[in-house]
């Protein structure tokens, strides 16, 4: 099934959004039902080990410091494992999900993923494009997903609202994180809007290799 949409993030820049969405810590916090999001070596990690690793690892601070994020940023070709709990209709499966960053080229990202829960699973390919708008940034996203098992039986009628809810909450949280940092560093943001190479924007471009 196909899902797509555009989410408007106001009062921000493409670079800031790129920075935010490059941060696994921010993404983990913003994703509803995400218990952990960890980089892994291959596409078939041992989730029991990952659960232990996630439990032992202290939560890293959310940051908008390009230096910090550059260290832990998503990288093209790398794999990430996530445990995602999703309420769909009457069931609430926990998906052991592995995502591969297939393409990462500002302002475009393509990721593929597979998730498995007891008796349900999905396969997906998602793309995201950051477009400048009058008020900020439009995140144009699209997902082609195949769902299987118990969840598939519920039909698109049930799945569509769930997918839309997840996407909406995710970007709302991204927006509020951006707002928080925007409030802390107003002058930098102001600089960014006047001179793309100065201030935070410049730093982001520099550190994030844009």
């Amino acid at each position: 099934m196909q899902f797509d949409g555009t989410f408007e993030l106001d009062g921000t820049t493409r670079e800031e959004v790129w920075l935010a969405l490059s941060d696994p810590v921010l993404v983990r916090n913003a994703l509803p039902g995400c218990e952990f999001l960890l980089e892994v070596d291959d596409e078939s990690p041992d989730f029991d080990e990952l659960r232990e690793r996630a439990a032992e690892t202290d939560d890293e601070e959310i940051s908008m410091d390009p230096d910090v994020i550059a260290e832990r940023s998503f990288e093209e070709g790398s794999h990430y494992a996530a445990l995602m709990e999703l309420g769909v209709g009457s069931v609430k499966p926990s998906f052991e999900t592995v995502v591969t960053i297939a393409e990462r080229d500002f302002p475009d990202t393509v990721a593929t993923g597979e998730g498995d829960a007891s008796n349900s699973s999905f396969e997906m390919e998602s793309s995201m494009h950051l477009a400048e708008t009058d008020d900020g940034v439009g995140v144009e996203w699209a997902t082609q997903a195949d769902v299987f098992g118990r969840i598939a039986q519920m039909g698109q009628r049930v799945i569509n609202p769930v997918a839309n809810r997840v996407v909406k909450r995710f970007f709302q949280r991204v927006q509020s994180q951006l707002d928080d940092f925007g409030a802390e560093e107003p002058e930098t943001a102001a600089d960014a809007s006047t001179d793309p190479e100065a201030g935070l924007t410049g730093k982001i471009r520099d550190r994030m290799g844009i």
Partner: protein
Amino acid sequence: MSTETGETETNEVETSESSEVALEDVFGSAIERREDPALITGEAEYTDDIQRPNMAHMAVLRSQYGHAKIEDIDTSAAEAMDGVIAVYTATDIEEAGTPGDLPVGWLLPSLKTPSHPILAGDRVRYQGDGVAVVVAEERYLAQDALDAIDVEYDRLDAVVDPKEAVEDDAPAIHEWSEDPTDTETEDDGEAEEVPPNVAFDWEIGDADATDDAFANAAHTVDIDLTNQRLIPNAMEPRATVAEYLPGTEELEVHMTSQNPHLHRQLMAAVLDVPEHKLHVVAPEVGGGFGSKIHHYPDEALTAWCARELERPIKWTATRTETYLTDAHGRDHRTHAELAMDEEGTVTGMRVDTYAGMGAYLSTFAPSIPTYLYGTLLSGQYDIPAIHCQVTGAFTNGAPVDAYRGAGRPEALYVVERLMNLGAKEVGMDPAEFRRHNFIPSDDFPHETPVAVVYDSGDYEPALDKALDMLDYDELRERQEELREEGRYLGIGFSSYIEACGLAPSELAGQLGAQAGLWESGVVRVHPSGKVTAFCGTSGHGQGHETTFAQIVSRELGVPYEDIEIVEGDTDEIPQGMGTYGSRSAAVGGSAIATSSQKVVEKARKIAAHQLEAAEDDLEFEGGEFSVSGAPDRAMTIQEVAQQAYLAHDVPDDLEPGLEETSFFDPENFVFPFGTHAAVVEVDPESGEISFERYAAVDDVGNQINPKIVEGQVHGGIAQGVGQALYEGAEYDSNGSLMTGSMQDYAVPKAEHIPEMDTDSTVTPAPQNPLGVKGVGEAGTIAAPQAVVNAVCDALEPFDVDHIDMPITPEKIWNAAENDDSQEEI
């Protein structure tokens, strides 16, 4: 017996209590169903009601994929759970030395019969294919433990459309050994490639004669249509309670079955249990519609677990499990053509059908789109040449098998859609076009070009009755007037034929059946004169306890209340073929009628002996033997029964007792027919359809109980309307069932079903002692095309030739929007 009531009011049949009905009127009266009080008060025992001490519960882990390789199954976490008794996979079945492979009960010359294991080993082929079972102390624990089984799949591409499935690039669902097709030609050494998903290629009729008919035709029409996949929806899901008794080595299986003897025979082979040690019982069964004929994996698995663990085990399907695994119905893609001469006389019909079989061949699956389909394509019409080609295709869906109507709705849908298009092509009224092409009433027996002989028929009176009920001419005028106002009324006809009570066994055998199609009946008159009749049919809602008692009452002259009917138990009934294909009255009813007649003959000998009269001098009427001309010298059959068991004074060459058995094997099918007419109003703006009228005239021969006939017609029409407007099983391209529950699969509700006016004509069946045909499937066979023809008639001003079922408001809206389009929607 015929309900000769008024023509315009709703002529609903009134029931009577049996005590109000005189003995000689019992047969043919609308006696209240005696089974209903137990059924509606909860007293009746269904399989899931059965409890046994120390009973455990089984649940089945099913493939979430439509098509995948199984790389690994790890059951250890499930096995470690508290309350879990055992977890089994295909490996365990194999290690126990159990054959575990489900047989196919109908073979065709070109048929490929893939292995159908009761648990999938290395590959799953449809969503719902069983992968493992858990046996646990509690039902919910067993379900929970399924989640702890870790199956590693390697997903494969799937194909779900029967036409796409046989294309060269479709993913192969089964791997065939060395030379799967056996079609290598001798001369050029070039193997004729049969695509891997072709289950069979089958044809009937004369291709050359049909080609000639089309070459010489003045008019032709053609249509591409889909007869969509349907899900059966019996109220009671499938269930099994199995118990193994180590002391006697007996395996007792209570299960939701339409044919317990057949299930015993098949299960004995699947599990390698001696047939005489396997006791199968069908307790009350809450509907089947065909879905409880077949031998599925789950019932065998329950029995296997019971034997393995030596504990009683219960399995009851969830509703979604029934949606995933009950054999579905229909699933045809058809191209059909009709040839006519200048006068609008049909001269030929050509039909090319792709029939979805699902992932495996269910028990009688190969017979449904072949012999139960192609042989009905002549409908009620005198058609000189017909040719039908059917390609059976494996797809990644649930197996497809008999579902109420089973092949015949698909055939009559093709015939009656073509007849509507043909009438339009030659500019005739659809009713008169049908009449023009009917087989004349003096042309019976009538041999069709598709290998059946209609033994009897008289089609015009049924059509006339339907036209009268509608006030047809006036209705057409009203249709015109309403069109002026922008309202769209449509009238649709369905003049259908049905072939049911499939027989004789010899013919069935020639056609590929791996079973006979006779029926057994035992009539036991007890010393007190009360009667128990045992029949090999196995009712599951049809009212046999009432109607069969009516038969016995008439034959023996014994009060209806004194007769008990027993079905559904392999230990009580000698043998039986079961209840399906509208066969119970015509075949089973005839068996107990025949046994009753044998009882009367034996009783006559005893009575003649005791009355000191010649047998020929005895009259038998109203349950009493009397000497002709000396009515005082008489004995009731009850008195004879007492004497038969006392055996103090019976003829020397006669054994004591009064009990007879028959195995009735009819000489032919029976051929019910009739005309249904739907009147609908269609709103092209909203796409909504509302029924104005639904008139059904059915000829099912003599009616044993008109109320039960009426109920069967009502239920059948409801299911037919469901197919026409609401129902449809949908798989996505990966083989995931998108309609996995009643939330997404629209079973019609009461508000969706029209008021029905039913009436009948009576042309007794000549081939059985009761003159009865069958009525169980008539409505389902007749209704879909009546509704579709009505909708297409309503949309005639929009130049709509065809809309595929289910006709949703969206399809109507699109069809009306695409005015001028000649395309099918």
